[in-house]
Amino acid sequence: MATTTNPKSHLPLQPHVFQILLSLIQREMHGYSLIKDIGARTEGEMVLGTSTLYAAIKRMVKAGLLEEIQRPADSDSEDGRRRYYRATPFGREVAREEALRIRRLDEMLAGTSLLGDAASENTGV
């Protein structure tokens, strides 16, 4: 498989790819719970369509960010088609690099007046 071992080569991540990684770093999940988890974390700002989700999962598995695992024993799912995924160590590393990239971005922004304006706009309304 043509995967690369350099996590930085994957940056910047597509926003939904980063969100999927964030969810799957915490625990293994299947598609439906992923959609709900991401929706809850982003407070409804990002609700993924099923095809977007699985197209991303497929690419992430190929890129070595995710892996499919055996169904957990406590799963109450009766549907054999449900598959569970979790982030690989490499996936964690990529997510971490993306988070660092965002933090650096955040620090850069702190030196500008951009967010100050936005904040006052938000509180002002």
């Binding site: 790819v17 598609g31 993924l48 369509g49 099923t50 197209a55 690419r59 449900r82």
Partner: protein, 904 residues
């Protein structure tokens, strides 16, 4: 939640879409997508219509973007731009060749969708007018399809079937003749006989009812190659040894709830017990009419020996390699033999041999199943097809005009694109894509509308008093028709504007100037408006003609008075009455009904004036009348009891009415009408002269007999006591409202024989109304389409004028600035509008005058060139054109000269 074996439709649809749009996902991932969607779908958080809509719109968006993304990724992979699946945001690369085409198409689609979404009003108007045009034409087509093309489903190789007709193009055959044809025509593998009629069916514990039934020869199902879903069809000798019936699928479902145990049950058919031996395949419709028979039974034995009882159609299956001509020549030989053997049945009164005519099944449908006097089906078809073409033409011109206007408004945008290097082909394809999207949407909605309407028809909610179930199904032909029409209109109304717009005059267009609007471009738009105006005029004139003719018929003196007369039809044959018992029944019924309160008088007649059914009497001789060579004397007649003429208010002008003395054994008597006297007695006193063996005793005033408004025809009446029949109609004149008395009348007749089926007790008024049903349906169709066309033509004129005015703002402003009176500007613009519609009106008037001739079969009391109809249609359209022009004209008059001049 209930556990379904099959997942809900939404989930199956979603799974289909995933596989279709994102094939690269592979079955394994596609399954997972479906599983996740199922979880979302059944999640209570997504219940309710609004949540479901939101879920679907999210899913569809996701499907589309993923589909595009995957496609792009595959394409890039093929070009070697990217060797691995990426989780990074993508960048786009320009392409060439087939890929460019794909790109262009998807770009066109997105561009068209965006540009239509920016002008939703325009898109809505276009889709609505096209939907209107297409659904009307599709509806009419499905009618034509049912009448003309659609053969009964399940029939094996229908092109091998021919019909053999005696005496005329669609003349019926007798059973003995049928047997001769079947056994002696070598070119036929086999032949079957069938006769469609109404029978009274009694299912235990249900009221008796009248249903459509086919009397058939035992091999009918075998010749057609159709079978049964339960039990068997007929076998040889069924008609001889047992009373058996095959019931229709619909009848089985309706009356027996689809009970498979129905075989062997007994039902009454015209009063005789029959055993059900089979259930026919669903959708088996009649061979001639698109009517669904409820049952089939073998031709009754008593009719199998009667060569003079011509009531059956004959259908034959050709042998391999044989054709219609071989059958015709062999049938001619048989006919020659029959003519010499049975001259009474095979030679007409004027000495001419009766011919045999062979037709293919398809030709058989053309003629419809009606009798010779009904308006020919071909005429109805021609009218329907004309309406179809007109409506579609008007809708298309309307839309083409809208598209032209829009293209003209976008000249600047198009010029920019040309200046930036867009090729003409790209521009045309992009504009065409827009029109195809619109036409596609309209076609789909038209198909849905038609599907819905025909479903309503099938469910009987719109039965419109049709006597039987008529099978109007949307089949593949209707679907193909709609698709072709949608595609055709899309190209036609899209191509012209696209070609026009893609050749803009760059410099003024870029400057945002309207430029000159006359010349070729405007010529097309003028032409389109003229087509609309002409088309609407034709439809309106047609509608007015029908309305006038109906009004005329309503005003016409019928020659009798149908008000407050009840009619109860009784057929004693269904209860196996002997002729004597029948006479007794009818002579009892008169005093019994007469004694009821509210009844003025009671009489009995075989047929109802203007009602369904007629009886023709062939006369051998009339005293003092010399028939012309080749003339046959066939006269409409009726059989009545004394007091009938008084009851229907048909006055005697000479002689006397029938009396109780005119009975069996007494000299036979006859009463005729005035036209009979004029025609056959040269207007001389006919009393005492002979008609055949009967003596004329009275003359009644002319009346209408078959259709209101028809010219009077010779008519005769016989005395019931001298010609007793079992099936008669009891006429009752009441003093007050007939409907309040009708139930008591029915109860009284029922009291005389509780088992006697009484069918459709009615009033004479209602029965005479049925006589104008085809006219009323046609005037409704034409009226509705005419009003729609008028609306569309108004829209067309308004659109053209409003646009023309907006293009001439500068000129108008200049005129006003130079001192022109606003009233003069209004007059100028209205004049131009009227010139435009006037040309269309002239053309329309000419075409209408030619086309309305075809309507003359349906009209009475009104000439096809009726000035009221022509001028009325003209007036309506003129008024509409003035109204449509006035609005832009008034707006133009208010133009501020400075404003309009500054615009440049």
């Amino acid at each position: 939640m209930t556990v379904d074996r099959q997942p809900p439709f939404a989930i199956r649809l979603h799974a289909r879409l995933v596989r279709l749009l994102i094939p690269s996902l592979g079955p394994e991932f596609a399954d997972q997508v479906t599983a996740a969607f199922r979880d979302l779908y059944v999640d209570p958080a997504n219940a309710g219509i609004r949540k479901r809509v939101r879920l679907w719109s999210r899913e569809l968006r996701s499907l589309c973007t993923t589909s595009f993304g995957e496609y792009r990724e595959r394409r890039d992979a093929r070009r070697g731009n990217s060797s691995r699946p990426s989780v990074r945001p993508v960048t786009r690369h320009p392409g060439r060749g087939f890929r460019t085409l794909c790109d262009n198409v998807s770009q066109d689609l997105r561009y068209a969708a965006r540009s239509l979404a920016r002008t939703p009003g325009f898109a809505l108007v276009v889709v609505l007018s096209l939907t209107l045009g297409m659904s009307v034409s599709t509806a009419l087509f499905s009618l034509v399809n049912t009448m003309l093309f659609r053969l009964p489903p399940h029939v094996e190789s229908p092109h091998e079937l021919v019909r053999i007709n005696v005496g005329g193009t669609w003349g019926p055959t007798s059973y003995p003749d049928f047997v001769d044809f079947r056994d002696q025509i070598e070119a036929l593998e086999d032949a079957a006989a069938f006769g469609t009629g109404r029978v009274v069916v009694t299912v235990p514990e249900r009221p008796p009812r009248s249903v459509t039934a086919d009397a058939v020869s035992e091999n009918y199902f075998d010749v057609l190659g159709v079978s049964t879903v339960h039990g068997r069809s007929f076998v040889a000798d069924d008609g001889r040894t047992a009373d058996v019936v095959v019931i229709g699928y619909g009848f089985w479902q309706r009356e027996f709830g689809g009970d498979p145990e129905v075989l062997g049950r007994r039902i009454g058919v015209d009063g005789r017990e029959h055993t059900i031996v089979g259930v026919a395949e669903p959708g088996l419709i009649g061979l001639v009419d698109p009517v669904v028979p409820d049952l089939w039974y073998p031709v009754e034995l008593r009719f199998r020996e009667m060569r003079n009882r011509r009531s059956l159609g004959v259908i034959g299956r050709l042998k391999d390699g044989m054709g219609k001509t071989q059958v015709q020549s062999q049938a001619d030989l048989i006919a020659q033999r029959l003519q010499s053997e049975y001259p009474a049945d095979w030679v007409s009164l004027n000495g001419e041999p009766i011919p045999v005519v062979v037709r293919t099944l398809k030709e058989g449908r053309m003629a419809g199943g009606g009798g010779g006097d009904e308006p020919p089906a071909v005429a109805i078809l021609a009218i329907l097809v004309t309406i179809m073409a007109l409506i579609l033409g008007i809708a298309c011109s309307n839309v083409a005009n809208l598209m032209l206007t829009r293209a003209q408004r976008r000249r600047t945008e198009i010029a920019v694109r040309v200046a930036l290097g867009a090729g003409r082909g790209r521009l045309v394809s992009q504009l065409l894509t827009e029109s195809l999207i619109l036409a596609g949407a309209a076609g789909a909605s038209a198909f849905l509308v038609i599907h819905w309407v025909t479903a309503l028809l099938a469910s009987g909610q719109l039965a419109m008093g049709l006597p039987a179930t008529v099978d109007f199904t949307v089949d593949w032909r209707v679907a193909v028709f709609t698709a072709v029409v949608a595609l055709g209109t899309g190209i036609v109304f899209g191509l012209v504007p696209a070609l026009q717009a893609s050749r803009p005059d760059l410099v003024p267009a870029l400057k945002g100037l309207g430029g000159a609007v006359r010349g070729r471009f405007f010529g097309v738009r003028h032409l389109l408006v003229m087509i609309q105006v002409a088309g609407s005029l034709i439809l309106l004139v047609g509608a007015t003609l029908f309305l006038r003719s109906l009004a005329e018929a309503g005003r016409a003196d019928l020659g009798f008075d149908p008000e407050n007369v009840a009619v109860i039809s009784v057929d004693l044959a269904q209860r196996q009455y002997t002729p004597e018992a029948g006479e007794q029944f009818y002579s009892d019924v008169i005093p019994r009904l007469s004694s009821l309160p509210g009844v003025e008088s009671v009489a009995i007649a075989m047929t109802v004036l203007l009602g369904p059914g007629r009886t023709l009497w062939g006369l051998r001789s009339i005293e003092g009348y010399e028939p012309a060579p080749g003339e046959t004397i066939v006269v409409d007649g009726n059989v009545v009891t004394p007091g009938y003429f008084d009851l229907v208010r048909m006055p005697l002008v000479m002689g006397r009415d029938f009396t109780d003395r005119d009975r069996d054994g007494a000299p036979e008597v006859i009463i005729v009408n005035e036209t009979f006297v004029d025609r056959y007695f040269g207007g001389e006193n006919p009393l005492g002269r002979g008609v055949g063996s009967r003596e004329v005793v009275g003359v009644v005033r002319d009346a209408t007999y078959e259709r209101p408004g028809e010219p009077a025809t010779p008519h005769l009446w016989l005395s019931y006591a001298q010609h007793p029949e079992l099936a008669m109609r009891v006429h009752i004149r009441t003093a007050a409202n007939v409907l309040t008395v009708l139930p008591a009348l029915v109860r009284e007749v029922q009291g005389m024989d509780p088992a006697l089926p009484i069918l459709e007790p009615s009033t004479m008024k209602a029965l005479t109304a049925e006589a104008t049903l085809p006219q009323r349906i046609m005037s409704m169709v034409l009226g509705v389409t005419g009003v729609l066309a008028l609306g569309m033509a108004m829209m067309g004129i308004y659109g053209v004028m409003a646009f023309a005015v907006s293009q001439r703002t500068r000129e108008v402003g200049l005129r006003v600035a130079l001192g022109a009176h606003p009233g003069k500007v209004v007059r100028m613009i209205v004049k131009e509008g009227l010139l435009l519609s006037g040309t269309g009106l002239l053309v329309g008037l000419g075409v209408a005058a030619l086309l309305t001739r075809a309507l003359s079969v349906f009209l009475y009391g009104v000439s096809p060139l009726d000035p009221t109809a022509l001028l009325g249609g003209l007036g309506m359209l003129l008024a509409a054109s003035v109204a449509a022009t006035l609005v832009p004209a008034l707006r133009a008059a208010q133009v501020d000269p400075m404003e309009s001049l500054r615009a440049e």
